[in-house]
Symmetry: C2
Subunit: 311 residues, 2 copies
């Protein structure tokens, strides 16, 4: 890891995903050590209990492995609908929990101050504050992976909308179109997420692929089915980002997540499509996320440090 | 006028529109007196000079008519792209000006502190603060008249995006569709503004109508052309508002402007369409604007009072 949070309190950081749970310890210098992935202990119900047990165990192990580091707070992040202000997991479809006071439960489990925030907003904050987008006051950080979600920064501060903002993955691009995991139809996520690109291509090909990367490769080597799926995704992303631009006028849009690793193959055509929908609007810069896959842990650690700094 | 701003400094208020210029004087009790409409003195270029002359004259007349009121500040609002923070009219297509420091010019002309802000944001602030939406922290006020534009309130404060935010009228609903005054295609404004509804209907009917009100009347009395135009507008509004909801999660959306006067005929079907696009999203309340056509003057006066309260 080359990213550093800079000097501050040592903290524990946990990033609970739908599949993996990442853990790490941030030093007083701001480096992350002991980064580890373990499977998320998903349960048919009340996954929160198993998650809290797992992070408590992982935290104890990290402290044993690094006795020289004395963490002062815990940063925990998770997907779903999260009330950042009150540290409550309101809802997470894949993780089977509802209205869980994670912040308070984590404080009890560790005997330390804790923060509980939304994974995309925390990762977005890491990208926003530690990357080149930090020079702008108004920014949108969009993660395109299995799903699509955004983190909004207004006048330099995250805007969560009581946990409901930033859901541009569930903004309808094609009314009545592709069914989405959320129960809607034609959502951006159902057309343009890495998972959707893979799924849509595998539905029409006779030789399935494991991921969006391979769909792009086939599109490049002349597979017209792959090309059609890829172009529909680019069109949807350009249109979705143009809606966000008209409404919010971000100075910069940062794209991260698995799909952003396609680099120019994604950014050049999406930028072109986005700008084609704009006239007098301010054109946002379109930037690739710079921290990448550990942005969640970094963001969790930033939030944990922030609570120590707030009286 | 039944609306009152409540007690505060007496101020002059001017609302420059594409056709009319409205002026008025706000008393220390918060009532608006001497409200008057004059034609906006649109010039082939530099309309700002004629506007400044006109408001200086109207201001002098108001003071003569009401010698008992001693205005302490001037609130001026106008359409286009406006940098509220610095009081600059960046651009206004119909009014032929560019980068005009209206705030400073108004201060000089009147010898009083002045504010210069965007008309839709100022009117939106009046609707937000003085209407039932004031109970919410996060709100969107959308004006649907000749054009469509929105005023965004984040944690109780207006968000202007350096003058570029809130342009959901120029968010593309039908890519490649109806040409828009902004130079784009398929913008919400080109489909669903009162002017667009009238224009689209008059293009296909043999008996033209003067406004959207008559299109709605004909739709109700079985004119299938009028019905088709009206339904396309409702669909576009529902979809556009759903995009704003997914991204911003406003607790309330207030609809104002001429089209909102259709009342239930607009609100019931738009609400239904908006909610049909939402799944786990928070459903915003959809409210009719309560101040109406003088919201601009009220908002201009509120901004003028605000500068007296800020050191």
């Amino acid at each position: 890891m080359t990213v550093s949070l800079g000097p501050g309190a040592p903290v524990l950081a946990f990033d609970v995903g739908g599949t993996d749970l990442k853990s790490g310890l941030v030093t007083a210098d701001g480096d992350i050590v002991g980064v580890q992935r373990t499977p998320t202990p998903v349960q048919p119900e009340h996954t929160e209990k198993a998650v809290l047990e797992t992070i408590t165990r992982l935290g104890a192990e990290l402290r044993q492995q690094h006795p020289e580091i004395d963490p002062q707070a815990v940063g925990l992040i998770a997907p779903g609908v999260v009330d950042d202000d009150n540290g409550i997991g309101l809802f997470a479809e894949n993780l089977n929990w509802q209205d869980v006071p994670f912040r308070d439960l984590t404080e009890k489990a560790f005997g330390l101050p804790a923060s509980f925030t939304h994974d995309v907003r925390a990762a977005g904050e890491a990208e926003y504050r530690l990357g080149p987008a930090s020079q702008y006051r108004n920014a949108l950080v969009v993660t395109i992976g299995t799903g699509i979600a955004g983190a909004i920064f207004i006048d330099g501060k995250p805007y969560a909308g009581e946990g409901y903002a930033g859901e541009l993955g569930h903004s309808v691009i094609a009314p009545g179109g592709e069914p989405c995991a959320c129960g809607g139809r034609g959502c951006l996520e159902a057309i343009a997420s890495a998972a959707a690109i893979t799924r849509r291509y595998n539905r029409i090909t006779s030789v399935p692929v494991p991921g969006a990367r391979e769909v792009l490769e086939r599109a490049r080597s002349g597979d017209t089915d792959a090309e059609a799926v890829w172009i529909t995704a680019l069109d949807a992303l350009g249109l979705g980002l143009s809606h966000a631009t008209a409404l919010l006028a971000p100075q910069v849009i940062v794209l991260g997540g698995g799909l952003a690793q396609a680099g120019d193959a994604l950014f050049t055509p999406v930028r072109e499509r986005l700008y084609s929908h704009l006239t007098f609007h301010r054109r946002p810069e379109l930037m690739q996320a710079s921290i990448g896959q550990d942005a969640g842990l970094v963001g969790a650690a930033m939030r944990a440090r922030a609570i120590l700094e707030t009286p």
